[in-house]
Amino acid sequence: MKKSLALWLCLLSLSACSNMGVKSWDRNLLAKPDMALNDDPITNAFNEHIYFSKEASSGGRGFGGGGCGCN
């Protein structure tokens, strides 16, 4: 049940996507480096490694950079 709800949310958001957005000349703020979705890959990689070895969950944002024997 939870899984199909999640998939529906995805599809809904996709169809709503086509009307949203900005023109190229309004991308001023969006182009700032801190607006990148992964603006600090090094810290995110450190965190993912720590949480992968201390917790049972992993992934979500992207793929891990490789396995380790820590879990």
Binding site: C17, M20, I42, T43, F46, S58
Partner: protein
């Protein structure tokens, strides 16, 4: 009459073939570069290098890790990038072995079979055998494949004393709606080889005293992991961008921790049995994980807020929630301070057992899988931290981050009884995370 005149005028052959609109960006850049051919504008792009060091340290002499990293990125042709990364990871310290504390002294054999360690009464057994250095290398190439399509491919390699990992990945991203929407799909294939000291233990075999023959299987085993990731990134308005991703991962092979054990206790008293009291754990040889991840970045005039939520679930019955919030305070043009907060909560794996009952061993009614590994237990965790970065001239910067991670679990989980109820099986784990980094061009 004007119309008639225009038709008479035909364009003669243009000296070079027509340029397709899609190639215009590249063509334009090259045209400008040729105009200034001997100039600094046509200079080779430098490597963007980031060096950073992580220090991770848990309280009560548990795990400590030092992890220096060097990563470099260079643009070789228009929008064609190579990313390289080298990580060295040195780990020392002790981690809970899965065994229970006891009112008497306990002796455990080291995995190699040639040594043992002693745990005092009332102490949570920590195994400090594992200290290892890992070296990991990764390379990743990204480039446009057509006007709105970008591709990435990468390879990852990691090596430590008893573990080798090799993986490849690929990813495609396509823009829509004036580049306001991006759909992406990726795959990651990984194969890991484990060769633990003392070989792969037989599941539920008893830990033998030092020097005696341990019940072992092969010297090594392996596992394969296949991940798929699907994402959509959407610009909501001039200040907001969101990402929604779904990922699914399938692992097959040896997923057990060869160093973790469970204590066998008497059904009535909960006391440790007198012989063969420690048994090696056993996990399923398959695991299917899924997650949904949602991130929002919102830009104020000067600062930026970032929020994310991940819901994770797998077929080991583990479900988790992760909430992440950070606020980048751009208080000066070349500096920022970014406090962060993370909350994490997970349920236990269906085969998580804090102990084994003597009667189950006698009557052969043991569960098929069991592990007392705290990482599979129910707990929540909070991270609080702050990062500082300063831009310097010539595209250099340095940064520092300090954070604290605290895990709190159930000190007396279900299934614990008798003499074990007095012990805190999940003492709060507190760790300090410190990071310093420096970035420059080369």
């Amino acid at each position: 009459m004007l119309q008639h005149a225009i038709e008479d005028i035909k364009l003669e052959d243009i000296k070079q073939p027509n340029i397709k609109p899609k190639e215009i960006k590249k063509a334009l850049k090259m045209a400008v570069m040729s105009l200034f051919s001997a100039s600094a504008y046509a200079a080779d792009n430098p490597w963007q290098v980031e060096t950073s060091g992580l220090l991770y340290s848990e309280s009560d002499s548990r795990v400590s890790a030092v992890e220096p990293v060097v990563s470099a990125r260079k643009e070789f042709a228009d929008e064609h990038y190579l990313n390289l990364k080298l990580v060295v990871d040195a780990l020392t310290g002790a981690t809970p072995s899965g065994a229970l504390p006891s009112n008497s002294v306990q002796t455990f054999t080291r995995p190699s079979g040639n040594g043992s360690y002693i745990i005092q009464p009332g102490e949570l057994p920590l195994d400090n055998t594992f200290h290892d250095t890992r070296v990991a290398l990764s390379a990743n190439w990204e480039q446009p494949l057509s006007d709105r399509l970008r591709g990435q491919t990468g390879v990852n390699f990691s090596q430590e004393y008893d573990f080798t990992s090799l993986g490849v990945s690929g990813n495609l991203a396509r823009d829509f709606n004036d580049r306001n929407t991006t759909l992406s799909a990726g795959i990651n294939l990984e194969n890991d080889w484990i060769k633990p000291e003392g070989d792969i233990p037989t599941p539920f075999a008893a830990m033998q005293p030092e020097g005696a023959v341990q019940a072992r299987g092969d010297s090594s085993d392996s596992k394969t992991v296949v991940d798929f990731l699907f994402g959509v990134t959407q610009v909501i308005n001039a200040r907001t961008v969101m990402q929604l991703s779904y990922s699914i991962s399938q692992a097959d092979g040896y997923l057990t921790d060869p160093f973790k054990i469970l204590s066998v206790v008497d059904d009535a008293t909960g006391d440790l049995v007198t012989t063969d009291a420690y048994r090696f754990e056993n996990r399923p040889d398959k695991r299917s994980k899924q997650s949904l991840y949602w991130q929002t970045n919102y830009r104020l005039d000067r600062d930026r807020i970032s929020f994310s939520y991940r819901y994770f679930w797998d077929d080991w019955d583990i479900k988790s929630h992760t909430l992440d919030l950070s606020y980048r305070w751009n208080f000066a043009e070349n500096q920022f301070i970014e406090p962060e907060l993370r909350y994490y909560q997970q349920t236990q794996a269906e085969f998580y057992e804090p102990l084994l009952l003597a009667s189950d061993l006698l009557n052969d009614t043991l569960p098929e899988f069991a592990s007392a590994d705290q990482r599979l237990a129910e707990f929540n965790a909070v991270t609080v931290g702050v990062k500082y970065q300063r831009q310097l001239a010539n595209n250099q910067h340095w940064n520092a981050r300090l954070a604290m991670y605290q895990q709190s679990g159930e000190g007396s989980p279900d299934g614990v009884f008798g003499s074990n109820a007095q012990f805190d099986l999940f003492p709060s784990l507190t760790a300090v995370i410190a990071q310093v980094g420096y970035g420059f061009e080369w």
